[in-house]
Amino acid sequence: MITDTYDVPPGEPVYECPYCGRPFPEERLLALHRGIDHPDRIDAEEQAAFESAYEAEADPLQRYRIAAVGVLVVLYFGLLMAFALLS
């Protein structure tokens, strides 16, 4: 009864899921979606596409994590200093 609605800007690339019809702006996201939401229906080729798209996320994700931990450290010590100086 609850359906998601899509809003595809005209002229943009569209990769549509053959199983549920959901559109994606990148082929990579479609490959990930098929592997995550339709794992029982995909064939070997789509499985391979899913795995390589998943692997491809590892490096940017690792960079994000290092940045996130960096911000946490700065926040922690920044506040520690602020409390030490001001209280």
Partner: protein, 461 residues
Amino acid sequence: MCACRSRRRYGRLASLLALLSVAVGSVSAHGAALSDGGRETVAIPTWLFLVTGGAAIGASFLLASLVTDRALIDAIHGWRRDLPIVGEPLARPLLRLFGVAGLAWVFVIALFGPSRGTANAAVLLVWVGWWAGFTMSTYLVGSVWPALNPWRTLADRLPSLESSYPERLGAWPSVVGLLALIWIEVVSPVADEPRTLAAVVAGYTGVTLLGAFTYGPDRWFRTVDPVARVFRYYGRLAPLARENGSIKLRLPGTALAETRLIDGFDEVGFVIALVWATTYDGFVATPAWESAATPVVEAGVPPLALYLLVLAGGYLLFVGVYLLGTRYSRRLAGTYLSTATLARRFAPPLLAIAAGYHLAHYLGYFLTLAPSLATTAATPLTLRATVPVLVLPGWFDAVGLVTVLLGHVLAIWAAHAVAFDSFPGRLQAIRSQYPYTVVMILYTISSLFIVSQPTIEPPLL
């Protein structure tokens, strides 16, 4: 000297529990400074205290974003245990009876009991027992309102026209109803004068029974009645709930990541109204509001209109900021899901914020006045010169600040789970949360500012 003790205690905690506890330390110091009646015992400036609260939210987001394992997120949110409750079939008729008897009792005591609100058991039952205590139990334990709801029990036994409800109105009448109830609560002496309370309860009873008669009880309590909707939504946070016919135990707040609760923008509007209502309730009881409102009233604006204007304007502002955040979220994530769909999916986590705020607002109130309720309920018709209240220790102010933060942290985690459910890319899911996190940090800072202010009576009324 009490201030120093609690400050040292929290200081030690801080070194153990790192960042979040640093916030607790400052919070306790702040509360202690207030209870010392103006004597400045602590040198932590307010801005640093607010920044620390905001930083705790930002840090929670960063920590949540490190969890990118879908299987782990699904396991946390899908965890369920059956919890058979002995005598459960008996509970429903008992609760129904209890609800109807309670309503009748409130009417009688409000009309014929003592005329002083603080000594009238009906006033205490409605505000302390029901709106503070019962509401807390709906999100901390589980909601029994569908059975307890006396108006539902009455309406089910009355005939009904079963007219068709105008679908295009959706849940908007319940949004208007909730804001109207909040406005009445703030501007009228309904929380102090038993006779006014009886009139408001009679009015609500009349409207509710008439509505249920016209559209049928099912439709009325599912769509229009704001009170039933409040408890239904709060119940989604609770660890206990009825799922597929049996009572299940789940981790608190994890059901907020399910997207079936909210099925249209009208219901998103109600969630935002609930968040805004708790904020408004606190805001109009601060000295900051008094100093902002006084010149406006002196310029000739009627106070009732000003309160209504701020209520409506603030609500529209909250809706606007939420939509703006959703639009940015959609752009950052790079998705073809519509803004309406994203707004619907990310609305349930906001309920955790509303509950955290409600707890901050009402836990102390409930504990303070619970002895008054118990004593006056024993002899409801006699006027007592004094009623007992519980005096809370000074550090208790910190509890409210912690529950505000906890509500936000829970909301961040639930939104993180929704993002991983909505987007196939892991970084895409994390990026979609940047705008919401910014909004939440700003909202936390303003909430902490309100909670840290001394509470006064809403002025100029």
